[in-house]
Amino acid sequence: VSASKRPAVASDRPAPSVPPEVLEEFHRRLFMPLVRRASFKHGLSKEDARDIVQETFVLALSKLDPNGNPQSWFIGVVDRLAMGFQRKRARRALLAARWGYGPTGIEETELWSGGDS
């Protein structure tokens, strides 16, 4: 059940200060678990999941509390971004269906967004 490996990170542009083995570990320990979460839990394609995780890292530069729990923070942000992405996709599908140029299928999910109890 294994497959041929390819390098985790494109290596023709070396990181200014981070050694390649740290980047490999970063890829395995932070990047990939979050990609899997966005992909399998939220049903995104791997490519969309990758973009969301990269966006999460950009946000982490300014928003991540160094004294907090980084795993919780990453999970929370990936979930929020993934849900936002799905909402946008659903809206696009709605518009496409309304104007007759694409598939339909709306499924909006948002925490505490209302509904019947």
Binding site: F26, A60, P66, Q71
Partner: protein, 452 residues
Amino acid sequence: LNLSVRALVAAIPGWLAVTGGRDLNVGLSEEEARRRAAVLRGLLREGKVNPVEVVIDEELKDVFYALLELITAEERQSGTPLREEVHAIYQFLDGVEWPNDDFSEKRVLLQRLLRVGATNASWDCTEASPDALWNLARSLSEQVDSAPSLVLRVACEMYTGLSEGGRLFGQPGERDRLLGEFALLVGGCSRQLGRRADASAWLDSAERSFRRSPEPRPGLARVAYGRLGLQYEMGLYRDVLSVVDSLSLTFGELGMPVEVAKCRLVKAMALKQRGDLENALDTLRPVLETPPAEMSPNLHARLICEEGDIFQLDSRPDLALKRYSEALSLLDRAEVSLTRADLAMFVGGVLSGNGQHEASLRCYSASARDHETMGTTARLAYVRLLAADELIQLGRPREAEREILQALPTIEEQKMVPEGLLAIVLLRESVKRCQVDANALRELREHLRKQN
């Protein structure tokens, strides 16, 4: 390298500098993962793979996720019980070593497998090894907050199977320790689900089992904690406060810091219910200052939530909302849990106090949906009454009546003090006359607040 997560976080700028605009390896494609999952499934059916020999890599992790999706979808579509197969996959995955699992992926996969396996049929423990049962007990204990009905059912089956099994089992006393664990789980879930008499009986069973085991103290202390929770829910705050400190001390001696934190939480909650908000805050403070990494995000969120609730009662809604938002950021937002349901209820309370009844109603509805999913009927009934109050404020009495009528049967099952029973009668009569008695509603809600 085995770096800490903090060290990896420090590498984010370097990571972004190197990967910006590059094609990153994201593991297997969905199709390939599904194809390999089908192959792995075949190998598992034939018993051709041994978990000890498996070396996990990123691609195999994709395959495990795909395998879970595969069997979940199959079970949903066909309705055919997959109990044995799910059990085999569970045991296989449980035996696979998953190093550096910073995001608890293995635990999450095991929990989901457990849910798939539990939807259709019972689990068989007669052939399971003690290690597998310990892992199952641990996995169940992590789900008490999110799926109490499921945990209750599985733990109950395990307890029954284990107590009836006659063969020699594990180390001396191991069966009793496991029986104690499963009984404790059933007791805890019964309490969450509002079945207090059952909870009390199961805690007694847990105590009997632990007493028969060679090292009973940690188990007995946890039984005592279970009883403490029960006393709190029955409104016996004085009793809670009289024993909580000595129990906390015992946990400290036994080197169980998480339980010490939980004791402080219950103490703060009891003080809050007695109106002693200042001491409640003082009790919470030391645990809130504990590094979050030393406790589960759910417990940390629960502690922050309680601090927020104390602020709300102390007429400091801004601080309360700040704490609630902090707690929400710690929770897995896609996972239903009691903490999340309570948080939604607390936020609803603040919004209601601010006169934002529509928004408050949305929060109560979210809380009710979570309680409905978890089967926590007693709390659901309470949240329905809160929602009914908001609906009255919004001039929607018919909907309020519907909420009340749905809540009353569950409330009547609970042991109420006479004043509470009177409020039920008044409320039922007023609903019959199509004119909800708002005072009776509030009075009943207040009785329930003390019980919940």
